[in-house]
């Protein structure tokens, strides 16, 4: 049948062209979100994340929730899975003042292989950011994360102060110390006992920036030149170390396990208490020691005494005695000043 005319007919050219046009439209529409992603500046986003992270680190003391339902900011003495947020500030009232115990735990190198640990406790983001966090002071430097990339990354710098732990040094070559805590002129009995008393109420009374916090700070006790306390002897024999809860008389004391502290005898680390000392004895109690082995009402502010017992015999003895109060007002206890440092957070 012959055609009368071409009206209302669709050419093959038009069909091909329209199909390709539709395909292009679909492809172009699919590109739109990607094109917009290219428009947003990545640097500005990273700067925001770096700022947020620096605020958590510098201005927040962190948070933990333990299995017993306990909550608080002393996360540095808790297990990894109990840590909710890792802020480095001493307390929420003292922004930009870092606790050295928190700094040490945060920059702990064994965590380095596990960036997810930090992402879920500092960055709080589903995006797996890479990061580099550095804290540098005059005599210390801590790094965490990878080296900063060649390309763009967000960063922020904060000026902070670092609070260090206190320590007590009893040097028996000092006549005043010898007179107060020993009596080398008199023969000692079968045992000598010496106490170091920590009044937690008193220690925790000042501002968090300047207090001695035995719960979350390292406590160091150095006994030097112990030979000055010997009564015709050459060494002293430390047989027992106990922790007493003095303000609760009914409460039992407990013997301190040597694996819960660092014990240095004459400069050498020792694993046992039954030991002979010729000159120096150093005890270092790590953060968290004074909450360990405690009764349920563990955070009651109270007086705790460390009791050192020495066994005496001719040739092996010491005349050490009395109670030393671990308090910052005593000149034998040194509180290091706050040290300025720079914190840099880089995120990409």
């Amino acid at each position: 049948m012959a055609r009368i005319n071409d009206d209302a007919l669709m050419s093959i050219d038009f069909l091909a062209g329209f199909t390709i046009f539709l395909l292009s439209l679909i492809v172009a529409a699919g590109m739109v979100p990607g094109m917009l992603a290219g428009l947003q500046s990545a640097t500005i986003d990273y700067d925001g994340v770096a700022y947020r992270t620096s605020v958590i680190l510098a201005e927040d003391p962190g948070w933990f929730e333990d299995v017993n339902g306990g909550v608080g900011s002393r996360w540095e003495i808790k297990r990894d899975d109990e840590i909710q947020r890792m802020g480095l500030a001493v307390s929420k009232e003292t922004p930009n003042i870092f606790s050295i115990a928190k700094v040490a735990r945060f920059f702990n190198q064994t965590y380095r292989e596990n960036p997810a640990f930090y992402r879920s406790r500092v960055f709080f983001s589903d995006i797996p950011y890479s990061f580099n966090i550095t804290l540098k002071g005059d005599d210390f430097e801590y790094h965490l994360g990878d080296g900063t990339p060649e390309g763009e990354y967000g960063s922020i710098r904060r000026a902070v102060l670092v609070k260090n732990a206190s320590e007590a040094t009893l040097d028996f070559s000092n006549a005043a110390v010898l007179g107060a805590y020993a009596d080398p002129a008199t023969a000692p009995g079968a045992t000598s006992t010496f106490n170091v008393s920590l009044n937690f109420t008193e220690l925790l009374a000042p501002s968090p920036a300047y207090q001695v916090d035995p719960f979350s700070e390292r406590i160091t006790i150095r006994i030097e030149n112990l030979n000055k306390t010997f009564y015709n002897g050459a060494q002293a024999n430390l047989t027992n170390l106990k922790l007493y809860w003095r303000s609760n008389p009914g409460e039992p004391s407990f013997e301190i396990e040597t694996d819960s502290l660092h014990l240095y005898v004459d400069g050498v680390q020792n694993s046992t208490l039954l030991t002979n000392i010729t000159h120096n004895l150093t005890l270092i109690f790590d953060p968290g020691f004074f909450t360990r082995g405690a009764p349920d009402n563990k955070n009651v502010l109270t007086i705790r005494d460390l009791e050192f017992t020495f066994a005496n015999s001719p040739g092996t003895n010491t005349t050490i005695k009395n109670t030393f109060n671990y308090t910052p007002t005593d000149d034998k206890v040194t509180m290091p000043p706050l040290k300025p440092a720079v914190l840099e957070v880089a995120v990409w």
């Binding site: 091909a16 094109m35 904060r158 000026a159 102060l161 920036a209 706050l338 720079v342």
Partner: protein, 169 residues
């Protein structure tokens, strides 16, 4: 269809469409649009750092002494303030120094009429007036007129305001 003038044929049409698409995609992908609203991020970084430095200087290093900032103001020692401020402001963790400049001014109460006067406390260089500067401030209580302070400084205890402009050279 009268004739073929101004007609785009199918193959040329496809080619042209691809050229346009590719161009648009390239242009959109390589341009980062820096809107005026985004400049607040660099300003914010300077502000945060400036406030940090003033906070660090205003925190006593132990419980018994005065802060460096308080001492600098009470001794009216702009040079000592400048040294500390500049060091804390420019110190970077890699050991290099940043290029931030500052200009510190103290506002105080005048003895004669109680009005407020300004004193150029310390500056790290000459300003051109075109700096993109941010402003951070700190209040400090001064127990009396510091030695070396301007003659019209009120002799009573007063709160002075330290205002620091910070900009990047």
């Amino acid at each position: 269809m009268v004739d073929d003038s101004a007609q785009l044929y199918t193959m040329e049409g496809i080619a042209a469409a691809f050229v346009i698409l590719a161009t648009v995609y390239l242009v959109a992908g390589t341009t980062s649009i820096y809107t005026p609203g985004d400049s607040h991020i660099t300003d914010m970084q300077l502000e945060v750092l400036g406030n940090d430095v003033l906070l660090v200087m205003d925190t006593p290093v132990n419980g018994t002494v005065n802060s460096t900032l308080h001492t600098n103001l009470y001794e009216w020692n702009g040079t000592a303030f400048g040294e500390d401020f500049s060091r804390l402001l420019n110190e970077r963790v890699d050991g290099t120094s940043d290029s931030l400049s500052y200009n510190a001014t103290v506002s105080y109460r005048k003895e004669a009429d109680g009005s407020v006067a300004n004193y150029a406390f310390n500056t790290s260089g000459i300003q051109t007036g075109y700096e993109q500067a941010v402003r951070v401030t700190r209040l400090a209580t001064i127990p009396g007129k510091p030695t070396g302070a301007p003659a019209d400084f009120d002799t009573r205890e007063q709160v002075v305001m330290l205002e620091v402009l910070i900009w990047r050279d």
